[in-house]
Amino acid sequence: MNLLCLALCFWGFAAISASMERHAKDIFAAAGSPRTRRLRLLAGYALLALALPPAIVEHGLSIGIAAWFGFLAIASTALALILNWRPSILRWALR
């Protein structure tokens, strides 16, 4: 459950980053249409929200929410590093 939460956080942030023009270019070489990017943004937020239930199942309500914030921090940091390092490896996850 912890890993699932972390993975969803990461995936969600990756989708959100792919909705931003600069990062989308890094990942896909082309930014994509505004509509596609808007979809990615929504999908990204949905994934972040989806990451919350696993954390709550694992840790209970209050601790789960705290853990979710922790996973968000870790996932976004990892993503920022990957975006700087090899953005293209994110491609498979985002189609």
């Binding site: 600069r22 209050s62 601790i63 705290a66 922790g70 976004s76």
Partner: protein, 712 residues
């Protein structure tokens, strides 16, 4: 653009505020962040620092040597009112035993501790009567006494340590509270408070400790503190090893103490190998508690002053956080942006990323830190609200404790205690859906009305206080289940206080949340460090043009080096000292701490003498090498080696060694990057370039992320 024009004055002024509030006590903040972050693992650190305990076996509950442990308790403390067992946990694999004598009233004839305590109370009362009496010698003497009394009979030193630990686990709130706030007149109240705290058993050792007449007593405080320190070393350390556990869970402490309507005295604490039941004796050391206490009380100075200093630093941190968010105009656009190899731009990115990505943590940790200091820094509100009563009730109400519960009286008829604790544990864990049992207390052992109480290891909710955990009770003679003790009702204020308190201190944290807190703490350390380095980077070009750096820039540079790289080296030296100072040297625990400060002072001198770049490289390399070698030092000085600890399932040891390895390599890598760095700008003069390029952001303690980003 016009909107930008309007916003600019605010941004500019906030930018100024951000820069200077961050810089002013930034060095201290970095040290607070780093030591505070390490404190999330202080039990683990303490365990690492006592290699004598590394032989503890990790065994499943059924194989824990409860029979031998109970036999040992029966031998050592046949008359105790209560026995406590702290079960092996991921944070400490030993089986801890402690006991509590019957309450002072009952025992005053027989127990020296009780007598002493009474004497002390009497003296305290007398003291409050003559509120003007100058702190005199006998007062100075009295404190230690009291500690002893509390610490219990023979085990004075342990008592002392335990108390500190407990209070540490607790204290910013109460501890600080009164001292500045109430002077002479308040003493009387505090005295009462102490008595009451004890009487209601509400775990108040700490409250009492803190509220006690000490209010007036810088003078008094000092001697006794020194003494505490001085003895830190003889602190027979089974205690220290466990004390935080105790602080967290304190099975028998006060929470249960109410059984007889009066707190008793805690006994010494023994640590056993859970498999064999054999005693383990760790070397005297302050362990992880030194770092823990340093992060809010510094060291070697009056506690109240230290807390004020840390409190002010915390306020500045909060100011820097809020103004930083306002200043950061592309907070969403640059959310994931981190670009290496771009000089100042990269530093800014690193600073932004480490701040923004764990911003919730930074805000919570800073704000809750302030709240923990709240009644010290802003005492008027609760003083006014609780005037009629006393502060005692304030602390009693804010302190989340188990409510006094109805423990049956001893019947006076003896009956053998059941020994099948493992069965009860299994039963409890099943009831709790798998949550682990942290401790077991046995009240009236050997009596027909003996009560065995099992308490959960971690608090199941952040909204409850750290010590409020579900418990199950069984009759000790028959094994029959008894009524489950109720968890206390809490009002909204208490819940808010609990949440902030718990989020800061992580009482609830099972391993995964604990690691999350730790990693976020590293992010915070990186944030502070990168911000401070940026101060010099941003001014580098200007500095480079002039022949000599302005003294202010030079000062900041030197302090940066010593505060960042130097601190990491000093911490590594502290751990080395733990292993190199002979285990039987009487003052060894003090020397470990002195080694830390000596090393830190040396790095400051070194930074002042060397050119900045050379100083960065040398100190980072030194800190990196010292840290990376810790697993080796551990293995050759009697500790369990890394492969062995992995094989034996001692995750806490393996975790320490692996972290040391990763951080050490990270710092070495940072040193390498600084060494290789040549400024991108045309200026090639050496003095200002010390702020290494992008790679060096790593010089803080957070190598893992750094290592990754360097790879880019």
């Amino acid at each position: 653009m016009t909107t930008f024009d309007q916003a600019r004055p605010l941004r500019q002024s906030m930018s100024w505020l951000h820069t200077w509030s961050g810089l002013l006590l930034g060095w201290l903040l970095f040290a607070i962040f780093v030591t505070g972050t390490l404190s999330y693992f202080r039990n683990e650190i303490t365990f690492w620092m006592q290699p004598e305990l590394h032989s503890a076996q990790v065994v499943p509950t059924e194989q824990i040597a409860f029979v031998r442990a109970l036999a040992l308790l029966a031998r050592e403390a046949p008359d105790a009112q209560q026995w406590s067992l702290t079960l092996p946990s991921p944070r400490n694999p030993t089986l801890g035993l402690s006991w509590q004598q019957a309450s002072a009233a009952e025992n005053s004839q027989t127990s020296p501790g009780a007598t002493r305590e009474r004497g002390v109370r009497g003296a305290a009362a007398a003291d409050s009567a003559e509120a003007n009496r100058a702190p005199s010698n006998d007062m100075a003497r009295e404190r230690p006494n009291r500690r002893e009394a509390r610490g219990e009979n023979g085990a004075r030193r342990e008592g002392r340590w335990r108390e500190r630990g407990a209070e540490g686990a607790q204290s910013p709130d109460s501890a600080t509270g009164n001292r500045p706030a109430f002077d002479g007149a308040a003493r009387e109240r505090s005295t009462r408070n102490e008595t009451r705290g004890r009487a209601n058993g509400a775990q108040s050792p700490e409250t009492a400790t803190e509220n006690r007449p000490a209010s007036d007593g810088v003078a008094r405080e000092r001697p006794s503190r020194n003494e505490t320190r001085g003895r830190a070393n003889d602190a027979q350390s089974p205690e220290t090893g466990q004390q935080t556990d105790a602080g967290q869970q304190r099975p028998g402490a006060g929470a249960r103490g109410q059984g007889q309507g009066g707190g008793g005295h805690r006994g010494p604490r023994l640590m056993l190998d859970p498999a064999s039941g054999g005693k383990l004796e760790g070397r005297p050391t302050a362990g992880g508690n030194f770092l823990y206490r340093f992060h809010f009380e510094l060291y070697g100075m009056d506690r109240t002053w230290a807390r004020w200093i840390v409190g002010i630093a915390t306020v500045l941190m909060f100011v820097a956080l809020v103004s930083g968010v306002i200043v950061h105009r592309r907070i969403f656009k640059d959310f994931f942006t981190f670009r290496t190899g771009k000089g100042k731009r990269s530093w800014l990115d690193a600073h932004n990323a480490s701040s923004v990505l764990s911003l919730p943590f930074h805000i919570i940790i800073t704000f809750s830190g302030l709240v923990l200091f709240g009644n010290m820094m802003m005492p008027t509100a609760f003083q006014a609200a609780y005037r009629g009563d006393t502060e005692a009730s304030y602390f009693r109400e804010m302190r989340a404790r188990m409510a006094p519960s109805d423990m049956p009286e001893a019947s006076g008829e003896s009956a053998p205690l059941i020994t099948g604790l493992a069965t009860l544990i299994a039963q409890a864990q099943e009831t709790w859906g798998g949550a682990r049992v942290g401790s077991i207390t046995i009240t009236h052992p050997g009596d027909r009305n003996a009560v065995i109480e099992l308490r959960q290891m971690n608090s199941p909710s952040i909204a409850k206080g750290g010590r409020i955990v579900p418990a199950l009770r069984f009759n000790g003679a028959t094994g029959e289940p008894l009524a489950t003790p109720a968890l206390p009702e809490q009002n909204a204020v208490q819940i808010v206080s609990n949440v902030l308190n718990q989020l800061h201190r992580g009482f609830f944290a099972t391993p995964v949340p604990r690691w999350l807190l730790f990693l976020s703490g590293i992010g915070g350390s990186l944030m502070v460090a990168s911000g401070m380095v940026m101060w010099t980077v941003a001014r580098a070009r200007k500095t480079a043009k002039s022949a000599r750096a302005p003294w202010g820039h030079r000062l900041v540079e030197v302090l940066n080096i010593a505060a960042i790289a130097g601190l990491m080296a000093a911490i590594a030296i502290h751990f080395w000292a733990n292993r190199l100072i002979p285990a039987d040297l009487p003052t060894r625990a003090d020397w470990e701490i002195r080694a830390f400060f000596i090393a830190w002072a040396v790095t400051l001198v070194h930074a002042a003498l060397r050119r900045p770049k050379a100083a960065w490289v040398e100190q980072l390399a030194c800190a990196g090498a010292l840290t990376a070698l810790l697993p080796l030092v551990n293995a050759v000085t009697g500790g369990l080696s890394l492969p062995a600890s992995i094989e034996r399932g001692l995750g806490l040891l393996a975790g320490f060694d692996l972290c040391a390895l990763v951080f050490g390599i990270g710092m070495l890598y940072a040193a390498y990057k600084v060494h290789r760095h040549t400024p991108r700008t045309r200026i090639v003069s050496s003095p200002p370039e010390e702020k290494p390029g992008p790679g060096t952001e790593t010089e803080t303690d957070a190598p893992p992320s750094e290592a990754m980003e360097e790879a880019a």
